[in-house]
């Protein structure tokens, strides 16, 4: 999910957009109880939820397994032998993805913060910097990531410039940093704007300069608030590291492609999907937990 303007699940001292501050928020509860109870309290609603879930997934499973193409799907997508053969190779090459997204994430954190601060600077003298930051985000949020990767990965080495790296992985990381900095800068900006203007005013009245109040008052609060949406963008970046396959790098996806096309079998893609889920689901749960904790902290003492 790309978060542009607002930070979902995170309120500010100005209130959560779309929520009437007069209206008390529903009790937090834990995830499971919210999935099972659909508004009706009591044992009956749980029973209905369980029954309808069983019926729905039961019917879906029967339909899939009894479909005329199931036998060939089973043979070409869920081939035990190909799975056992492909998984270790894919996991091995996946280390390239891990390297790419870890390096990219480190740079994104810095570049995006610079962009967000530039765009948040008030004062007429900073107009050109704001314009640059806006132009940058418009450009790189507007171009599909795969295009940026292809253009840089095949284009930059073609310039044949002295001292320009030729490594595909280098240019892939550059492309991912360019694109994801644009997204993450907007997340940061939402966080910066969620800090009440009175905070800046107070800091300025204490004699801090614009930059000092940004650095010491606004940013510490903003960054803490945007951690969950920022992690969401990082999960997106981790998945997009597979686009590096287009440049010829044998990472997870390209390894799956190789096995798939050598065997005419799609099972390697299932193996790769599992590898991705194993690393992304814990992160998603972690983000959920952060959001939940943040909500509890904000509501502490007032609602419960």
């Amino acid at each position: 999910m790309k978060v542009a303007g607002g930070v979902p699940g995170l309120g500010s001292s100005r209130g959560v957009p779309g929520v009437d501050p007069e209206q008390p928020l529903p009790p937090p509860g834990n995830r499971r109880s919210r999935i099972l109870s659909v508004g009706e309290p009591g044992a009956r609603s749980v029973w209905v939820a369980v029954a309808s879930t069983l019926v729905f997934f039961g019917v879906a499973a029967v339909l899939i397994v009894r479909s005329p193409g199931w036998a060939s799907i089973k043979a070409t997508f869920f081939d035990r032998e190909v799975f056992a053969d492909s998984l270790p190779k894919i996991v091995g090459q996946f280390s390239t993805n891990v390297f790419i997204f870890l390096v990219a994430e480190a740079f994104v954190l810095i570049v995006a913060l610079v962009l967000a601060v530039l765009r948040s600077l008030s004062g007429p003298v900073f107009a050109p910097l704001r314009l640059l930051a806006i132009g940058y985000t418009d450009l790189f949020r507007g171009i599909p990531t795969i295009l940026v990767i292809s253009l840089l990965g095949f284009g930059m080495p073609a310039l044949q410039l002295q001292g320009f790296p030729k490594s595909e992985i280098f240019w892939a990381i550059v492309a991912l940093v360019l694109v994801y900095s644009a997204y993450v800068a907007e997340v940061y900006r939402a966080g910066i704007e969620s800090v009440h203007p009175s905070q800046t005013a107070a800091a300025r009245s204490l004699g801090l300069s614009r930059l000092q109040s940004m650095r010491h008052v606004v940013l510490p609060q903003a960054v803490r608030r945007v951690i969950p949406p920022l992690l969401n963008d990082f999960i997106g970046l981790q998945k997009d590291s597979a686009l590096v396959a287009f440049l010829g790098v044998i990472e997870g996806l390209q390894q799956a492609n190789i096995i798939s096309q050598a065997t005419f079998d799609f099972t390697p893609y299932v193996s790769l999907a599992i590898v991705y889920l194993v690393i992304t689901i814990p992160q998603t749960r972690f983000v959920d937990w952060l959001v939940e904790r943040d909500r509890r902290q904000r509501q502490g003492g007032t609602q419960l």
């Binding site: 209905v48 309808s52 019917v59 339909l63 005329p68 997508f77 030729k166 010829g248 790098v249």
Partner: protein, 302 residues
């Protein structure tokens, strides 16, 4: 409770909407015991069920690369890049034309559909009767699709550029330290991986153009492709390109074959047609015409 029943009804409707399409009645396989097997391709094809009646629907890659397809693009079929397959020129084009003729189709009864490599072996109903795009036979692949007999026996070759470190290499050992690339889905990569085993991890590009661009950029020292493609790449795509040599066959001779839907009754018809054009020397004439100057290069010793 009413709400619950209503919910169940909704679920049932959703389920009904997802119900599979009726399986089209498939011709019952005679098993070849009661009826005598057809002896010529045309009468075999007359009995076969095709994607479109009365038309041979052929899938191939777009762009249609030389020397497999030739003749350039036409205004009539603008969607096809590099070459218009309807011209039936180039080695594969002419082979399809000759096979179709044996099967009883005139040249205007052939339809071409673009088939990305991955789609040629995807399960489910096909929108083509056969696919021709330099697909190499392998036992494992034959578990997913039907393969015809061979229409071309192929060797892999190494392409590099003038002045490269591997230009003039004559043994596989000289390639150990090279950064090599190959297009995806080809046996070229397998050759690099299994027989050259370079110390630098090879690169695998999604298509030929990616591999060619990387070689031009100097991102790889050389690319491994099949020999006729190597001639095309060095003649057209890379002005400074050189064919370092062709690789010796390791194991069974590699060959290109048509791919058809698994257990297709039409496969036998295609094989009859292929046998016919081999017997009457049409096939060797086609090879002579389109690949004669692209059949050999110095061999890199194992």
């Amino acid at each position: 409770m009413r709400k619950f029943l209503l919910g169940l009804a909704v679920l049932a409707i959703v389920a009904a909407a997802c119900a599979p399409e009726e399986d089209p009645a498939e011709p019952i396989d005679s098993g070849g015991t009661t009826e005598p097997a057809p002896v010529d391709a045309a009468s075999c094809a007359a009995d076969a069920s095709l994607v479109n009646d009365g038309v041979l629907t052929v899938g191939t890659g777009n762009p249609a690369f030389p020397p497999w397809w030739e003749g350039g693009t036409t205004d009539a079929n603008k969607d096809w890049e590099f070459n218009d397959p309807y011209l039936l020129q180039g080695f594969e084009g002419a082979t399809v034309g000759a096979v179709a003729e044996q099967l009883g189709f005139s040249s205007d009864q052939i339809e071409f559909v673009p088939v990305p490599f991955g789609k040629s072996f995807a399960p489910g109903p096909k929108d083509f009767d056969l696919v021709v795009q330099q697909i190499s036979y392998s036992d494992k692949r034959a578990q997913a699709v039907d393969f015809s007999e061979s229409y071309y026996e192929v060797n892999q070759a190494l392409v590099s550029v003038e002045g490269s470190a591997i230009e003039g290499a004559t043994t596989l050992d000289e390639l150990k330290g090279a950064k090599l690339g190959a297009p995806l889905g080809t046996t070229s990569f397998d050759y690099v991986d299994q027989n050259i085993q370079p110390t630098e991890e090879p690169a695998v590009y999604n298509d030929l153009n990616g591999a060619v661009q990387a070689l031009k950029n100097g991102q790889v020292d050389g690319i491994v492709v099949d020999l006729p493609t190597a001639f095309f790449v060095t003649a057209v795509q890379i002005p400074k390109g050189v064919i370092v040599g062709q690789f010796p066959t390791v194991g069974a001779q590699e060959y290109f074959a048509f791919a058809l839907e698994k257990d297709s009754a039409f496969t036998d018809c295609v094989n009859l047609a292929l046998q016919a054009i081999k017997d009457d020397d049409t096939q060797s004439a086609i090879q002579q015409e389109w690949l004669s100057d692209k059949a050999s290069a110095p061999v890199i010793e194992g």
